[in-house]
């Protein structure tokens, strides 16, 4: 890992991103270095929080990160770019619920091989 005080991310790139969202005439050098560090801290924090939801699993997946974003209010600004993904079986189930609202029948034919645990077996 980098030993620079602002971490491993490229300062110039961060500066470019900052310029694109600021009406300020100048981006002070200190502010870009600090933002570079903040971006690294942010990636680490979101990774750790996501991994907590992996329950000690061997990999960090998109769904874990998206779940954190959906749960925590302060990540609201990311919700548009990180929608929660659902499986096709879940989608079908949602459709089923909408279509058969009055019927008590549950559809679990398609769930057996999808690997998702919907909790509604039998």
């Amino acid at each position: 890992m980098s030993t620079k005080p602002w971490g491993a991310l490229p300062v110039y790139r961060i500066m470019t991103i900052m310029k694109s969202s600021s009406e300020a005439e100048n981006i002070g050098k200190d502010s870009s270095l600090m933002m570079t560090k903040a971006a690294e801290l942010f990636i680490k924090m979101l990774s750790r929080e996501g991994y907590k939801l992996a329950n000690g699993g061997r990999s960090l997946e998109y769904k874990h990160v998206a779940e954190v974003v959906q749960r925590d209010e302060r990540y609201e600004f990311l919700r548009d770019i990180m929608p929660k993904k659902i499986t096709y079986a879940e989608y079908k189930k949602m459709q089923g619920i909408q279509e058969n609202r009055d019927e008590s029948e549950t559809e679990d034919d398609d769930e057996s091989d999808s690997g998702t645990s919907s909790g509604s077996s039998q």
């Binding site: 890992m1 005080p5 602002w6 971490g7 491993a8 991310l9 490229p10 790139r13 961060i14 470019t16 991103i17 900052m18 310029k19 694109s20 969202s21 600021s22 009406e23 300020a24 005439e25 100048n26 981006i27 002070g28 200190d30 502010s31 270095l33 600090m34 933002m35 560090k37 903040a38 971006a39 690294e40 801290l41 942010f42 990636i43 680490k44 924090m45 979101l46 990774s47 750790r48 996501g50 991994y51 992996a54 699993g57 061997r58 990999s59 960090l60 997946e61 998109y62 874990h64 990160v65 998206a66 974003v69 302060r74 600004f77 990311l78 770019i81 990180m82």
Partner: protein, 123 residues
């Protein structure tokens, strides 16, 4: 200004390293997780910058400063970043001061340097 949309992306390899650094050694990082985290970081920079700009406008400053970033992080509830960043800011100030007092030699006193420094950061 960013000319292409790719200009707003962060380098994959660096982002990957940062994520791995934050997690236990044996954990794999899915490609979609990495690209989501990378995009999230870019949006985070936009989000904080926009708030920091508001902070600087409150006092009619035209340059975005380090303290504006800290104020923005506090405002948007990322308080845990404030301490490490403040430490970094302090380091920069001290480094600058050393450089300056070396340059100015015997003519100026340390105290004068400190005043100049404060004016600069308050800009």
């Amino acid at each position: 200004m960013a000319e292409k949309l790719e200009d707003l992306n962060l380098p994959n390899l660096t982002v990957q390293k940062i994520i791995k650094d934050a997690l236990p050694d044996s954990v794999n990082v899915g490609k979609d997780a990495r690209s989501a985290l990378s995009r999230a970081a870019s949006i985070f920079v936009l989000y904080i910058t926009s708030q920091a700009t508001k902070e600087s406008q409150k006092v009619n400053r035209k340059t975005l400063s380090g303290p504006d970033i800290i104020a923005a992080l506090e405002e948007l509830e990322f308080d845990e970043f404030v301490e490490p960043l403040q430490a970094m800011l302090k380091e920069f100030k001290e480094a600058k001061q050393k450089k300056k007092s070396r340059k100015s030699g015997d003519v100026e006193t340390e105290e004068n340097d400190e005043v100049v420094e404060e004016e600069e950061t308050g800009e």
